[in-house]
Symmetry: D2
């Protein structure tokens, strides 16, 4: 699948006293990438929640290669790694715009629940969402090594 | 009214590249003080919300006197400044524990709403909460210049 | 002075359990506006710091009129309110892009210090920065009611 | 090695509109655990940095088992997993205090650098720090299955 890209400037608030972006903020950037990903497939995350579908995080991981700094613009590339009726795994790469250097990469794995926290099989509970996500896998994954 | 005190260590995440605590984080510390204040009057904020009462912020203000740094322990002193059936104003002072220096002071003003965002007159909608808050004003404000 | 505008989407991380943007995050948004303001006058804040000039916050204030929510795009309009050799005051307005509603407004007041925290008179220490900021006041304030 | 424990209350700021603690904040909690860990071995992190030693994060991981909520008090248990002259790996467990339920667990891996970002072999550059950390491994790891 083609990556969905989003780009923004580092915020001063995101730095720490080491003079670099505080490591936990990369997960917020992953979320910005994730939000853009859902928008790009016409399933804005705020619409998904209105349909009673929530995607809490089961696991998150990040490998930090180079530090992002205030003054940098970053690009987040988001890809679907795996979709199942009860789980979704997305991967992220964070690049520094000025020179294209890969700063960090990681993933988040999500489960599907309803408002009361009950696990959902979205193939049954939200067939349209499932259809869109499954299509991504079938038509686009196949052509990606 | 006697101030309600709470104390905690500065987090690395709260610093910025100036080497000091990022200014917006003082409002989070005010919130920690506020949470402790509500606990101290036996109205934990999570219980208040369960009763369908929410206290969004109408105004917030902070005056920064000295910088807090990683390694500091701070004390937040919270006081009620004004209570009305439709509003609540709290003031905060942030001290550095090791030497008692006042680092910052400010206030938040809150309104009362229900889950749907409708403004409430808590004297009518939540008489017990009103009673507790009003009592603070009457018996404790009177003795404070 | 004409306002400097910047626009971005609300992040999920910025919401709280009331379902709206947590109030302290508006100060981060003010900072995003401030960063854009400095860029617009060819004094990117990261360049200013490289010249040994820092602008810690002396005071911050925000009045909240309507809640921002996840799914909203906001516009921050930043203006210089007052510039002196030892102080700078900026004002901010946050609008919801879809309908132009004013969500919040406030200000930050800054002092000028060097790396060691010593107060600076930038007219003497950083004449070029002073010149740019002063020019804003003279040529642009005059035409604004 | 015995775990170092630290305990604190969930902050309202840490919640998101799903009504639970936003996932990235667990990494901030890991940092609170890490800070307490360094204090417990008489190497407060702010002292380490004063000696020109910094510990940026190379990798971070978290597995979320149950949601933390506002109103919860959490306990973070921090342990050393591995120490080498150029790396340090710590593991964390987050428990809900009221019932002892494990909410999340994860790790951070750190490298050692100096102020200019140059990698350090702390056995050579900071022998006292190395001695303390190595001793933890030798005397305490051995007795732990």
């Amino acid at each position: 699948m083609k990556a969905v890209e989003t780009s923004f400037s580092v915020r001063y608030a995101e730095t720490d006293q080491m003079g670099i972006v505080y490591h936990a903020n990369y997960y917020v950037w992953f979320e910005v990438g994730r939000t853009e990903f859902f928008k790009s497939i016409d399933l804005p995350y705020w619409e998904i929640e209105k349909q009673g579908l929530y995607l809490p995080v089961l696991e998150s991981f990040c490998k930090y290669r180079h530090s992002a700094r205030f003054g940098d613009t970053v690009i987040v590339k988001t890809r679907v790694k795996d979709v199942r009726p009860t789980r979704l795994k997305l991967t992220y790469e964070v690049f520094r715009k000025q020179d294209g250097v890969l700063l960090a990469e990681g993933y988040t794995e999500h489960t599907f629940i309803n408002k009361d926290g009950k696990p959902l099989n979205i193939k049954k509970s939200h067939p349209r969402v499932w259809e869109v996500l499954e299509k991504l896998t079938v038509t686009k994954f196949s052509s990606t090594p």
